[in-house]
């Protein structure tokens, strides 16, 4: 395929542009529509994080451990969300004496930024898709891994030994798991033949097998389940959840790189964690589960897409309640000696599958 110079389609901004007739305004119109579209998507994410963070996580954990949680705050305890928001924002921001500013202030912003920015190329279905560049998948991976930089800066700038250890652990962990993640992601490209997100979704929307009335879609998870499991494991480590939550490792290194963050900075760090889980879920849904394509009518694409993202979030919470944490050396060992080797084996396997069945 010949690379085009400006192949970037912008489905959602274009739709907004058509709706309000802003197409005539040229570059300014593009900027306005892009901004409005980004604002909409960011808000969807923030609302999701608001539900997941102060409310969903507690409810889920309570359900896993046979308890009730949040019974006093409105219907199903939902008012805990504004309550927690006010509480967290009205707390004093404690700035420890030795922190290295402005690095210390930038770190949480980088973390949140990288998570939200990654969604720019994710097709969410029902026409909600900010940008669709040719290199969409590469862009998503590149942006998502920026958060490691944020963690490293946070660990270093906090002037706290626990934070330093957390930052170093985060760096080691992300390097070790980024490579298997991307190599496994590359196997999807063998299958779809494109890095463009819309193309990846389109390929998976086709029918793989027709079993009487039921048509199994050609989701890559069905084509190569092995790759899916690998990606899931590496993704779990990327977002730093059990059994791979060593960069934070409460009870070992207190809270790792986020130890010294309080008040609104804590909110940012925490928010970025949830957004990263969503982003990992979104990438996984796009690459392996057909993104917004299916299992139902395409018009409800956003529903299917969000359901898949939330399913991944629930999985992380389930693991969190039940899975022991591996030790840092075991983690690195699993990454370099296990997943890396397997991910390359998977690349060959996928090449075989694609070569034989989809040539």
């Amino acid at each position: 395929m010949v690379p085009q110079t400006v192949a970037t389609a912008m489905p959602l901004p274009d739709a907004i542009s058509d709706l309000f007739g802003l197409g005539d305004l040229g570059l300014i119109g593009q900027a306005i529509t892009a901004f409005v579209a980004a604002f909409l998507i960011a808000n969807v994410l923030l609302v999701m994080a608001a539900f997941a963070g102060p409310w969903g996580k507690r409810k889920i954990f309570a359900d896993f451990s046979d308890r009730y949680a949040i019974t006093e705050h409105g219907p199903w305890g939902l008012f805990i969300i504004p309550a927690a928001a006010i509480q967290l924002m009205s707390k004093e921001l404690i700035v420890p004496k030795g922190v290295d500013r402005p690095a210390w202030d930038i770190a949480p912003i980088i973390m949140v930024f990288s998570a939200i920015f990654g969604f720019a190329v994710i097709p969410m279905g029902s026409g909600i898709h900010l940008a669709d560049p040719e290199v969409g998948l590469l862009f998503a991976f590149a942006i998502a891994s920026l958060s490691t930089l944020g963690m490293m800066i946070a660990g270093y700038a906090s002037d706290n030994k626990f934070a330093l250890m957390g930052g170093l652990r985060a760096t080691a962990q992300n390097i070790a798991y980024e490579i298997p993640l991307i190599v496994t992601g590359a196997s999807v490209i063998l299958y779809t033949g494109s890095l463009q997100m819309s193309e990846i979704v389109a390929v998976q929307a086709e029918t793989l097998v027709q079993l009487g009335p039921i048509s199994i879609p050609a989701w890559f998870a069905f084509v190569n389940p092995f790759a899916f499991v690998l990606f899931l494991a590496a993704g779990m480590a990327e977002v730093g959840r059990n059994p791979f939550d060593v960069p934070e490792a409460p009870t070992e290194i207190v809270a790792g790189y986020q130890t010294e963050y309080s008040s609104i900075y804590f909110v940012l760090v925490y928010l970025s964690e949830f957004l990263h889980i969503f982003l990992a879920g979104a990438i996984m849904a796009t690459l392996f589960l057909g993104g917004p394509a299916g299992p139902g009518p395409a018009a409800l694409g956003i529903v299917w897409f969000l359901a898949k993202v939330v399913a991944f979030f629930l999985l992380t919470q389930w693991f969190r309640t039940a899975m022991p944490r591996v030790r840092i050396d075991q983690l690195i060992e699993i990454g370099w000696k296990g997943l890396l080797v397997l991910s390359f084996a998977n690349l060959l396997l996928t090449a075989g599958i694609v070569g034989v069945f989809f040539a």
């Binding site: 030994k161 290194i253 022991p324 075991q330």
Partner: protein, 553 residues
């Protein structure tokens, strides 16, 4: 017995005066009769040679406790020796030192556990130990003036304590070497220290090079307070506050046993069964917390195991509340029995225990599923925090820590008290000595304790209605004979919980010393965790299972 190789048969009795005379020879300069054991007086500059003879020739491999006290004319250190293979053999080695110059030889070279015990004696009483590797204060701040359990100490004088920044103690050793170390304060406020414990840790990367537990943050002068209370009623509430995580009745039993032996008080059989049942319920509750907290250390702060264990403990506490009227600070034992009989209607009470025991089997299986059968858990715990039997013995480890290192030692069986002898149960022992073995021991003990409770319920159900004597006759004001001394221990939740009491003929003890199992067990942390990853240090601390209320007293 033959003196050439007496330790080949550890069960041969060497605790009578005749054998002690032949072992110690000229070292013995006097003899005392303690209620629990033969007391032998030795010179302060012959401590090491005397104890070494007792250990190597007499087979006394267990230094249970070191008691220090001040008399009007002298200071005295008492080394309470015993044997891991036969706990009924005891000897008290009394080391008097002069009032003007209270210097005595340290026993650290013979028994490693003497290290902390002698530091405590120095801290609280003021005896100085020669040859001690590290004679610093242990419970009180380093700048404290005076020794609070000494006779001339002014208790009303307030003291200001200054604190200095902690420094890397081995920084100079690593100068110019390729690795640089980092000093890390883990605690006193840290999610994993299970209370206010401060670990002065030196790390090389993620590896622990040196760890020095700094204790005393929860020191509440428990010994002093017990010395100010009357035997009959005023001391019994305190034991609940030592190992406060549900082990209350086990602790109360230690005081009850010591004073009952000392003052020759009989306990009715019925009361013994009730005591045994209550104590084992406490052990279940305490072990549940231990397992749940260990899951926190290894799994993380959102583990369900902790919540499940906490829920099961609630069920136990409900039963204990019905029995004693309290959920934590029971104050249920009395000298010569218990305070009141089982709650009426008895059938409902027994029913509630049986309901719990039935569901408890499933709970233990679930803990095995969540923890011990989990592959990641096994990778984390098998082979980490290793503690071999010899080291454990030298440090005076007892309880699940010792039993996890293959030491078959349980006071309930080896020095029987209560109703344990009549019941059918086993001592859980694992040989591996790692974190996993200690966890397995606790899991098995949950089941064994449940078995004991079950049998007690059967016995109590069939007990003759007219013969339910819950307390024997005890004088309203109890005054044991002057100068009577006793050291008695029971199997607490964490190990051997011993009490030393010396009477001066009044209704209050002249010296009340608590031998805390956690205190001795915590000492071994460095041995088990040095050279391992910091994550394993936390896991090892969790599996050693200390309650700071009992460490600091």
């Amino acid at each position: 017995m033959s003196l050439e190789a007496p330790h080949e048969d550890p069960l041969a009795r060497t605790d009578d005066r005749e054998s002690l005379e032949s072992i110690l020879g000229d070292h013995a300069i006097g003899w005392e009769e303690h209620v629990n054991a033969q007391g032998v007086v030795i010179r302060p500059d012959e401590v090491q040679s005397s104890l070494r003879a007792l250990r190597d020739e007499g087979g006394f491999d267990h230094l249970s406790s070191v008691t220090a006290q001040e008399y009007a004319d002298r200071y005295e250190s008492i080394y309470h020796l015993s044997k891991y293979d036969d706990r009924t053999q005891e000897v008290s080695v009394v080391v008097p030192t002069a009032k003007e110059e209270p210097v005595s030889q340290s026993a650290d070279a013979v028994y490693r556990t003497a290290d902390w015990h002698e530091r405590e004696a120095y801290d609280l009483v003021g005896i100085e130990y020669e040859d001690h590797p590290d004679l610093r204060r242990i419970l009180l701040p380093e700048t404290w003036q005076g020794h609070p359990l000494g006779l001339d100490y002014d208790q009303d004088k307030p003291q200001l304590v200054s604190l200095s920044e902690h420094a890397n103690p081995i920084a100079e050793h690593h100068h110019d070497e390729e690795g640089e170390t980092m000093f890390l304060n883990i605690g006193p406020h840290h999610p994993a220290t299970h209370g206010v414990l401060h670990l002065k840790t030196v790390l090389d990367g993620e590896t622990v090079v040196d760890v020095d537990p700094d204790i005393g943050y929860l020191h509440r002068c428990e010994e002093q307070m017990c010395q100010q209370g009357t035997y009959r009623h005023q001391i019994m509430p305190y034991p609940d506050r030592w190992d406060y995580v549900s082990a209350g009745l086990l602790n109360e039993w230690s005081y009850a046993r010591a004073i009952e032996d000392m003052a020759d008080i009989e306990v009715p059989e019925y009361a013994q069964v009730v005591r045994t049942m209550g104590a084992e319920l406490c052990r279940i509750a305490a072990h549940l917390i231990s397992i749940g907290a260990f899951a926190l250390d290894v799994v993380g702060d959102f583990t369900v195991t902790f919540q499940y264990a906490w829920q099961d403990r609630e069920d136990v506490l409900n039963i204990l509340e019905d029995l004693t009227g309290q959920r934590m600070m029971f104050n249920y034992f009395r000298l010569g029995g218990v305070v009141w009989d089982l709650p009426e209607p008895r059938e409902d009470f027994f029913e509630s225990i049986r309901t719990f025991l039935d569901s408890f089997e499933g709970s233990v299986d679930e803990y095995h599923d969540l923890l011990t059968n989990n592959e990641i858990f096994q990778r984390r715990c098998i082979g980490t925090g290793h503690l071999d039997a010899e080291t454990a013995k030298s440090y005076g480890c007892t309880g699940p820590v010792a039993r996890g290192s293959g030491i078959d030692y349980d006071l309930r069986r080896d020095d029987p008290y209560g109703y344990y002898e009549e019941l059918d149960w086993d001592v859980a022992v694992q040989d591996e000595g790692d974190n996993y073995a200690r966890m397995l021991v606790r899991m098995q003990e949950l089941e064994e304790s449940a078995k004991i409770v079950d049998q007690c319920v059967d016995i109590l159900e069939d007990w003759d209605e007219d013969d339910r004597e819950i307390q024997s006759n005890v004088p309203r004001t109890l005054k044991p004979d002057a100068d009577a001394e006793v050291y008695r221990a029971v199997e607490g939740a964490k190990g051997e919980l011993g009490i030393y009491i010396r009477s001066d003929g009044s209704d209050k003890p002249a010296r009340f010393k608590i031998r805390s199992p956690c205190f001795s067990n915590l000492q071994v942390l460095g041995e088990a965790a040095n050279g391992e990853y910091v994550a394993d240090l936390i896991a090892t601390l969790g599996s050693i299972d200390v309650i700071l209320g009992e460490v600091d007293r």
